[in-house]
Symmetry: C2
Subunit: 252 residues, 2 copies
């Protein structure tokens, strides 16, 4: 980048329903692709966008973070919000835009990622909820769920919740928060880690609900984590209930 460039940090929300995921694809509609198309229209040249990480097809975000270098000199950072939103489809929105230090990197500087998974419990879900939540036909035992969830906290080998083909060098992740809470008729699972393996949150959530429904003892869940055997875990929960909620950074 030249000296005249500025580094702009964005806070982004999207409805993942109609996307193949965050990552730019040759053919399929992606969130990164739509944002880069808008950046290209604004700059009259291709401008790459760096996200904090990928989200899968169908997964939503209320707190994705990304950065790009702009050669536009005379524009207040917050002016990028309406400028980009006017060029973006309705299912992607820029919520905030700010000037970052030139070496800020949305992915490498991220300290932790927080996801939330929404479930509608014990009643028929409305269609406008089904798009953004998993329907549970029962009201799960919150105490039991939170008992299992506490067992996830710490530096753990997450192989039990990893895809067998996961190419990550290490499957150790530091999980700093994992709990369930209720908002109205919605059960929310919140989990924070330094990073996640592919489909890990959905695999964990599916397993927690599977164990809870069968009232399995906490020790059995702890043994499951230690087993590192994906085949013993529960089903992977569908993507529509999952939101990338927040990215925390080491600095500003």
């Amino acid at each position: 980048m030249s000296d005249s460039q500025r580094n702009i940090r964005l806070l982004i929300a999207y409805d993942g329903t109609d996307f193949s995921g965050w990552q730019r694809q040759q053919k399929d509609r992606s969130v990164q692709g739509e944002l880069e198309k808008a950046l290209e229209k604004l700059h009259k040249t291709y401008v790459p966008l760096t996200g904090s990480g990928r989200t899968d097809a169908g997964v939503h975000a209320t707190g994705q973070v990304a950065n790009f270098y702009t050669s536009i000199a005379r524009m207040e950072p917050h002016r990028f919000i309406p400028a980009l939103n006017s060029l973006l489809p309705r299912d992607v929105r820029v919520l905030e835009a700010s000037e970052a230090s030139l070496d800020f990197h949305a992915r490498f500087d991220a300290k932790s990622r927080t996801y939330r998974y929404h479930c509608v419990c014990g009643r028929s879900a409305f269609p406008h909820e089904l798009r953004y939540a998993l329907q549970l036909w029962r009201r799960p035992d919150l105490t039991r769920l939170n008992g299992y969830a506490r067992a996830l906290i710490g530096e753990i080998d997450c192989s039990t919740f990893a895809n067998p083909q996961d190419p990550s060098e290490s499957r150790y992740r530091h999980i700093s928060l994992a709990h369930f809470f209720i908002q109205g008729d919605t059960l929310i699972f919140e989990i924070t880690a330094n990073a996640f393996l592919w489909k890990m949150v959905r695999s964990i959530l599916g397993t927690l609900l599977f164990y809870e429904e069968r009232k399995l003892p906490l020790e059995e869940f702890k043994n499951l984590i230690l087993s590192k055997d994906r085949r013993l875990a529960g089903p992977t929960a569908p993507p529509q209930g999952l939101f990338l909620h927040k990215i925390d950074y080491y600095r500003g």
Copy 2:
């Protein structure tokens, strides 16, 4: 109908985004049309469905009520819920099904209709909210809005909020509830009347926000109602924030 027929009452929710409205159309996708298609598959013959009233294109429902006559004798009423939902697209859901008296009529027996209009206030809305709410860039004055809203309560000539082509014989409607309240960052306008004119709720809401933004005196709003002149009212609010919330009946 024959003696062997039963009258089934449904509680229905839908995401109005991809519908031309409630009413069956020759070509366009309608909620009534999708439900009648499901009823036809279940009965192997056309079964008409009577709704409590129409909703416009893009308007949602969490509490629409409808009834139909079925010749299916040996089926618990609640069994119609999964039977119909398995035949319905994801954006229409049957929430409840019950046996009604043979002369129950979802439209003629309705005592009142309640609508809710959702606005996201004072911040960028998330894409998953924009589908179901109007974005207001400011936080409106709740006290002022509720002052105007109270002036709507009673037996009033609603011509100010009617489409000039509205074919209704009388434009008098009995409004029994009209108020705003806040839930989190969402401003909700709730209004109950014996019946509504075409686009009346959206016209009222658009006008209330228009008056509030300009801090116009309450007397001016009262005079507007008396004027019966649609041209003096504010803009019609868009459909995506509007939900048919509840139908109350004279009996059962």
